[in-house]
Symmetry: C2
Subunit: 104 residues, 2 copies
């Protein structure tokens, strides 16, 4: 059976006020919105295509900011729009994961 | 390569104040917390095991409340603790999805 979304992308947006670091301190909210907007403008949003999702803590805080792409189960970190663009263009559109941004 | 989490479970917790229905109106917050607590008490939480995650809108509002389990890509709806228990015991522990709760 095929997946409801071809690529379901979860951005950790968790914010911690003290102690452990968190993805929200690395501009995760802004870059999730950027990714969602770019996917929509490419006509790739929706069932059978791509969903850019908000998520709570994915519990890889020290490696953050993190996203995970399912059903592949591929994890990434990122810094800015150019990293998000590369993940979209290479992986979500082209089917080729971006090795330099992958987490083990 | 094996998945960072054997089962990564996302509960839609989206709340809408008007218009379309939403998972939050179906006790999603309380049942996500229940699932997380039960997985922890079973010793199943963590890398290589199970993660019970909070998520924003999964965009299947009319079928809600919904959860999705990755990397399998299996979607469920649920009503109460007994449904959550069945998903945990049969699927997450036993490896057998719960057909009566699955979404197409």
């Amino acid at each position: 059976m095929s997946s409801y979304y071809a690529h379901h992308v979860f951005f950790c947006l968790n914010r911690r006020e003290e102690g452990r670091t968190c993805c929200a301190r690395h501009d995760a909210e802004r870059l999730q919105a950027y990714a969602k907007s770019r996917i929509k403008s490419l006509g790739l949003a929706g069932q059978g295509k791509v969903r850019i999702n908000r998520a709570g803590c994915l519990d890889r805080c020290e490696e953050g900011p993190v996203i995970v792409v399912y059903p592949e189960g591929i994890w990434y970190t990122y810094v800015d729009e150019s990293d998000i663009d590369e993940i979209i263009d290479s992986h979500l559109v082209g089917g080729k994961p971006v090795d330099r941004l992958r987490l083990p």
